[in-house]
């Protein structure tokens, strides 16, 4: 139990540092796509939704699991598509960038 918790905490703490490091140098112009892109990534909660929805234990769990999968999928699909739509506009028209 404690061993499991410590492993999880280790990963958690290291991920905080990575999350901070990888975005600290993003130019302002990309903040909106970045917010939208990271927004899509927390859609990974869909994996959790699938795990609980895949072990049906009565109508309440099935119904809530279904809603969770729907919400998670909206987050993932919508998030990545909308980010791509924004980024498509940046691509291709910046010879050499700024």
């Amino acid at each position: 139990m404690i061993e499991q918790l410590l492993t999880d905490l280790t990963i958690f703490v290291l991920a905080i540092f990575i999350g901070y490091e990888i975005i600290s140098k993003v130019p302002v112009i990309l903040h909106t796509p970045l917010m939208s892109g990271t927004n899509a990534i927390h859609g990974i909660v869909l994996v959790g939704a699938m795990l609980v929805a895949g072990t049906p234990e009565g109508p309440l769990v099935t119904a809530l699991g279904f809603v969770a999968v729907v919400l998670g999928t909206i987050n993932v699909v919508g998030g990545f598509l909308v980010t791509d739509r924004m980024l498509r506009m940046f691509a291709g028209k910046t010879p050499g960038g700024r």
């Binding site: 958690f12 975005i23 302002v28 112009i29 809530l64 999928t73 998030g79």
Partner: protein
């Protein structure tokens, strides 16, 4: 129906690969050239993680999952492909709320699992379940309110009501007390849990409703990091590392982004969240009152489309300051057209982009990119401010608070200290605006009463098109 199962270790390896793809993806999002590729890499990582999960032996039935993915996929695809670029902030808010809602439900179902098995919830699981449910629920309802405010369904003004602080405080205490009871009780209590969840949902609404529409970008960014943390908490509950890593990455980066946005406005986060900033400021302090009196005495100078065209056509250099008004009117294409005709006459045209122009950081850049405005013509605050002294015309289109000199001179102003674009230093100031209505911050702008300033009233798109036509005939 049954799919083959992958061994747990293979699934964990795929999750590790997905995590790496997320990290590289976010990293690549930090440069315009690789950004699209970064988003693509992250989506590949997501697909791998989802497929691996489908093949997990824990999953016994596929019906619910398949139906949910089809429904959610359809809604997400339609919403993402139909939304206008101007409505991007509220779209992100909705997607974010979906993730928060999913995290809250996953946590709650974990609790229900213990309850059904008649098992006591171990304290560590109890804490992670409650944290995931609380933050997820706040993010869910908070994002919906933020969406409503940006979409105009809920008033953009900061909502204040009597006993606001006591009510919030009591609700907060109730949530803490319920959490403590649920963790310490040692047995599951679904009834108390339901009350806890309801209180958390209500708390999200009360948290966002007193914040003005102008501050919604900061709120959405903060709620984005909340959903990340809620996701990480579900990872702790389910002992799933890809959830912990991805959720934490978003939680950390979202927090940093929120901080950067507050810094651009030169306001501490506490002031944004608890300042009831969007309320109309009623002459705060003697200086504010005197200023308001002075402004009331002075009139604004109006200018015609033809005169605007002449001034622009014979200028040597023009700096365009786009604001949210431009975005709402969808005027970005007309503005590019105007820049094109001016450039063909040898006028030097630049765009001054304030860090909080539009409603999210970088939002204005996205809109102008949509209209094919070259990158090289966009300048940020520090780069453009020294140029205003040499500019013949500052053309302000639908921007207000970002050029308000009160930020420099009036300590009683709520935006005092926010860096602004020095439009008042240009030789001529032309302000294109729909009406004299104050901006998001709800404060008067003395720039409009500046002797050099001229007001051109009308819908941004319509008026700019007329100016383009007039410039062609000058």
């Amino acid at each position: 129906m049954s799919l083959p199962h992958l061994p747990p270790n293979v699934i964990r390896a795929v999750y590790l690969l997905a995590s790496v793809l997320f990290i590289i993806g976010i990293k690549q999002l930090s440069s315009p050239k690789s950004a699209r590729n970064g988003n693509l890499l992250a989506s590949v990582g997501m697909l791998l993680a989802i497929v691996a999960t489908l093949l997990d032996r824990q999953i016994l039935s596929y019906g619910t999952i398949a139906a949910g993915i089809v429904v959610g996929g359809l809604i997400g695809t339609v919403a993402a492909s139909r939304v206008a670029m101007t409505a991007m902030p509220q779209m992100v808010a909705l997607f974010n709320g979906s993730g928060g809602g999913a995290a809250a439900i996953v946590s709650s179902l974990e609790y229900l699992r213990f309850a059904r098995a008649g098992l006591p919830v171990p304290p560590v699981s109890g804490v992670t379940i409650l944290v995931g449910a609380l933050i997820g629920a706040v993010s869910f309802t908070g994002s919906i309110v933020a969406f409503g405010k940006l979409q105009g369904l809920v008033t953009e003004r900061a909502v204040t009501y009597p006993l606001q602080k006591p009510i919030n405080f009591i609700l907060f205490i109730a949530i803490v007390a319920a959490s403590a009871w649920l963790v310490v009780a040692g047995r599951t209590d679904v009834m108390v849990y339901a009350w806890f969840a309801a209180a958390a949902l209500l708390f999200g609404v009360l948290f966002v409703i007193p914040i003005g529409g102008g501050d919604m970008p900061v709120v959405i960014s903060l709620l984005n990091s909340f959903t990340g943390l809620a996701t990480a908490a579900t990872g702790f509950s389910l002992h799933n590392h890809v959830l912990i890593i991805s959720g934490t990455l978003v939680g950390a980066s979202g927090t940093l982004l929120t901080y950067l946005m507050c810094k651009a406005m030169n306001r501490p986060i506490t002031n944004v969240l608890f300042g009831a900033f969007g309320a109309v400021v009623k002459g705060t302090g003697a200086a504010g009152a005197a200023r308001a009196g002075a402004m009331a005495g002075k009139g604004v100078r109006e200018v015609s489309v033809e005169d605007t065209a002449t001034i622009l056509a014979y200028a040597r250099s023009v700096i365009v300051i786009p604001g949210y008004g431009l975005a709402v009117a969808q005027a970005q294409h007309s503005v590019r057209e105007l820049a094109d005709v001016l450039k063909s006459r040898g006028v030097d045209v630049k765009y001054a982009i304030h860090p909080v122009a539009g409603r999210m950081p970088g939002h204005m850049n996205v809109l102008l990119a949509e209209a094919n405005v070259p990158y090289q013509e966009l300048y940020d605050l520090d780069a453009i401010n020294p140029e205003f002294e040499r500019a013949d015309v500052a053309l302000i289109i639908g921007a207000n608070d970002v050029v308000n000199p009160a930020a420099r001179s009036d300590p009683s102003s709520p935006i005092y200290g926010m860096p602004i674009l020095d439009a008042d230093k240009a030789k001529h100031i032309i302000i294109l605006k729909r009406s004299m209505k104050p901006g998001f911050a709800g404060i008067e702008n003395e720039l409009f009463y500046n002797p050099k300033a001229m007001m051109l009233f009308g819908d941004a798109k319509d008026t700019v098109s007329k100016v383009v036509h007039a410039v062609k005939t000058v």
